[in-house]
Each structure stands twice: as C-alpha cells, then as structure tokens.
Symmetry: C2
Subunit: 253 residues, 2 copies
Amino acid sequence: MTASSCYTRTWTTQRAPGLAKAKRTLKWQRDPEGMRLRILEAAKQEFSAHGLAGARVDRIAAKAGANKRMLYYHVGNKDELYLAVLEGAYDKIRSEERGLDLEHLDPPEAIRRLIEFTWNYFLRNPEFLSLLQTENLARAKHLKKSTKVKSMHSPFVEMIRTVVRRGVESGDFQVAVDPVQLYISIAALSFFYLSNSAALSVIFGRDLLDKKAKDERLAHMSGLVLAALTGRSVELFEIAKAPKSRSAVAQTV
Amino acid sequence: MTASSCYTRTWTTQRAPGLAKAKRTLKWQRDPEGMRLRILEAAKQEFSAHGLAGARVDRIAAKAGANKRMLYYHVGNKDELYLAVLEGAYDKIRSEERGLDLEHLDPPEAIRRLIEFTWNYFLRNPEFLSLLQTENLARAKHLKKSTKVKSMHSPFVEMIRTVVRRGVESGDFQVAVDPVQLYISIAALSFFYLSNSAALSVIFGRDLLDKKAKDERLAHMSGLVLAALTGRSVELFEIAKAPKSRSAVAQTV
DNA sequence: ACAGTATTTATCCAACGGGTTAATTTCTCC
DNA sequence: GGAGAAATTAACCCGTTGGATAAATACTGT
C-alpha cells in the first residue's frame, strides 16, 4: 500500500570541493529538467499501474523522489500530468516506427515487419497499453485537448498507404485496403491479446504469456494478415488438436 | 457531481385495499431479489462508466434507489460487487453465443456469423468492453477468484474447434487454426476498434463510429478473416484513396 | 395478534487525497 | 557578496469515501 521507495535522492553534497573551510552541506540541489523527467517517469508508472482514478498523486511524488508540490509546479494537476505522460508515450512509439523504413522493403515484408514491430513494442512497453486503455475509459478526454498528438499520425498513415499501393501495383496484394483499417487491425491483434491476457488466460485456462504462446501468437497474426492480403496462405496456423484430458495449465502472469 | 436520480422508488403504497379503515401508509416495501438486481444493474453502469477506482459506492446506491448499506447486505464490498457484475456480463454474452447455432452452418458462414455477432454484441453492450478493460487493468484479480467463469468457456472453444475442423475437411478452409487464437483474433478486431474508438478517432482525425465507418469496419474484419481462412479474397476491402484536402471530420462520439 | 427474523433506513467516522499556502533554500547575475 | 528569481520543502485544508453501527420498519408463521 505504502509507496515503494524506488530510490531516495541523497543530495547531501559537499559544496566548493577546493576550499577546506566552506564545505557547506546542501539540503538539496536544483535540477528542473531532471525533476520534470523523473516526475513524468514516475507518473507513467503510477498511471499505468493504477489507472487514472486509482493513481495517487502522493505516490507519484514519492516515486519521483520529489515533494508533491513539484508536480503542480513543473507539470500541472493530475489530468495535465496524465496528458503529458500520454503525449510522451505516443511520441515514443511513433518515432520508433519512423525508423522502420518500410518504404524500402517489398510490401509483404514491410507489413510483416510492421506487425512484428508492433507486437514487440507492446511487449516491451506494457505501460503504453495500460495508458491507452485508461485514456479510452475516459473517452479520450485528455487527448482531445492535445494539439501535438493529432499531427503525429498523418505521416504514419501515409507511410502505410504507400506500402499498400505498391503492393497492389506489384501484384503482391490481391486487394487494396484502407490503411487506417489495416493499421487498426494490426494493432488490434497484438493489443487485445496482450492487454487482455490476464483475463483471457483465466477464462481459457492457459498461460498466454509463456514463450511458446507468444511465438504462436506472432505466427498466427502474421499469417492471418498476410494470407488475407496476398491470398497465399503463409506457413503458420497450428493444427487444432482436441485436448484429451484438458490438463490444467499454469496461469503465471 | 451529485448522483443522478434515475428513478426514485415511491413505495408509499396503500395496504389492505379492501378495508377502508386500515389503509396504512408504508414507508417502504421488501423486495430482496428486485433490490439485488437493481444494485447489480446500477453497479454495472457505474463501474463501466468510471472504472473500478473511479466508481463510487454512494452513486451505485443512489442509482439503485437503495441505501448504501444494501450493497453490503446483498452483495458485498466494492470488489465483490465488481466480480458479481463481471460474472453476470460473461454469463450474458456466452449464453447469447450459444444461441448462434454455428454447428449447423457451413464453416465460412459460421465464422462470418460469429464475427457479426461479436461486433454487434460489442456495439450493443459497450459496458461489457469497459468492464473487461477495467478488469485487465486490475490484472484479472477478481476473475481469478471466480469459479463460475472458467467453466463457461470450454464448450465455446469446442464449438469453434468443430467449425474449423469441418471447414478443413470440406476444403473450405486452407488452414487449420487454433480455435483459441482464432476467437481471440475475431474478438480483438472488434474489441480494439470499439473500445479504443475515442482515442483512435482523435489521432486519425475521423469519426470511427458513424454509420459508414461501422459498415466499413465490419466488411473489413469479415474480409480479413475469411480471406485468410479460405484463400479466396472475399468482396470488401475498400480501395485506399489518397485524401485530397484532408478535410476535417467531425468526431461525434 | 404477536414474536422473531429479514430487510431497509439513518447516521457516523476516520482515513484519504487532490490541491493550496507559506516559508526555505539554492542559484545567478551584477 | 548580496539581491532577486527560481526551485524545493513543509504543513495544512477540507470535501470525499468506503465502510461500520445502530435503530427502525416490514413481513412470516403460528
């Protein structure tokens, strides 16, 4: 319950290292940029772990090694803090995506790469999933106030649109598909699986996050999307075997 | 802020309608079953609207036209209440699914029907989406305590497994696919689109919930899954047109 | 008609939680 | 070396909230 003390800032530094006499002991040190970053990082953890209403401003301060007042001084109130975190999260994923360089791959390979990237990004950044879920439960009320976020996405959509068009022209893809629909589907297949893995693991009685399950999932998703686009049914798709004894599977999360 | 009074119970009934003298006025009336139902319904609304931490016990009581004490008397504390709501929600969807009668349709038609049902069910029951999201943010801690829920799903998985097997045997499906993967994918395509429509509408700058968008989404999803399974690229898949002026689209939610 | 139980109402409260105010300390520039 | 601005700490405020206690009222069987 009580905030875990990730680390306590021990700014009890010596001043004026040369002088022997004047070695005053500082109680703390100024560091506005660092403070802001620590606050945002702590807030990201707290919001993704507890949601918007569940997040505690005091815990964020504690995790950031800061006084609660600092949150308001450097960022703003709880909602503004949340928006800042969210913008940072979107910025990070879209900027990594830009590095994928899909334009120079042949279309099926580009799509496969996008799928794999999305899957791995979500795996590596579970807080991103939580933050989005939380924002959607709030009906995107924070995002609607953001100006930055909207502009970050048109280039991304155009990138996918180009890949699809090239695929159709080269004959690799059977069908032209709306890039927004396609991206939403690609994101959906990973997002839902991962963000709901806790509940899904319980209701289906098998651990969806162990190594084998994750490999199978990636193969399934790539196969599904690429088969639909190209018409050629790619490798994948494990055969459906009827369980004999329905042995209970551990549900380590 | 103050709880909206959905309806106020006016139990100020006349007793003993035949007798003229003894027409006592009751302050309230007993109704344990009805009370329990009203509490669960109110709780469903509150939890789906505000999440777990955001939900207010007092508001639930007010919405149910009950005294707060009643929640604890009839169901339990906040967490037990939430679990009860969740179990009810799962029970409802799985029971409707049983009525789909997929066993007697030819496999592609069965899958299409499952996709359409899932989509429409999520559209008709947005609280279901919220409840699941909330539960997953809580890492399924409530579901793990449930005994009922686990057993509700094996028959459902077997139903899909059978459809897939029949499809492979008849040659309709190119590939055998794990029924759990398939169902997760089908659910994912609808779930993510709808549960994240608020944020997606903002970042992509178009209203994903208007009539046209919804029709397109259903076509896209059916096309994607059936094309992948059958190899024949079904109708659908709108051509990707480059926007000329990128006209702003209203974002009614 | 009455006793006993089930159901519901009426209050209370202590901890919490977001946000604010005011005082303190550090840094920068002249 | 000192004044003024920036950054940080410390302490407080006050409405909220989940939950509890006790008293009141309705029903049931006899």
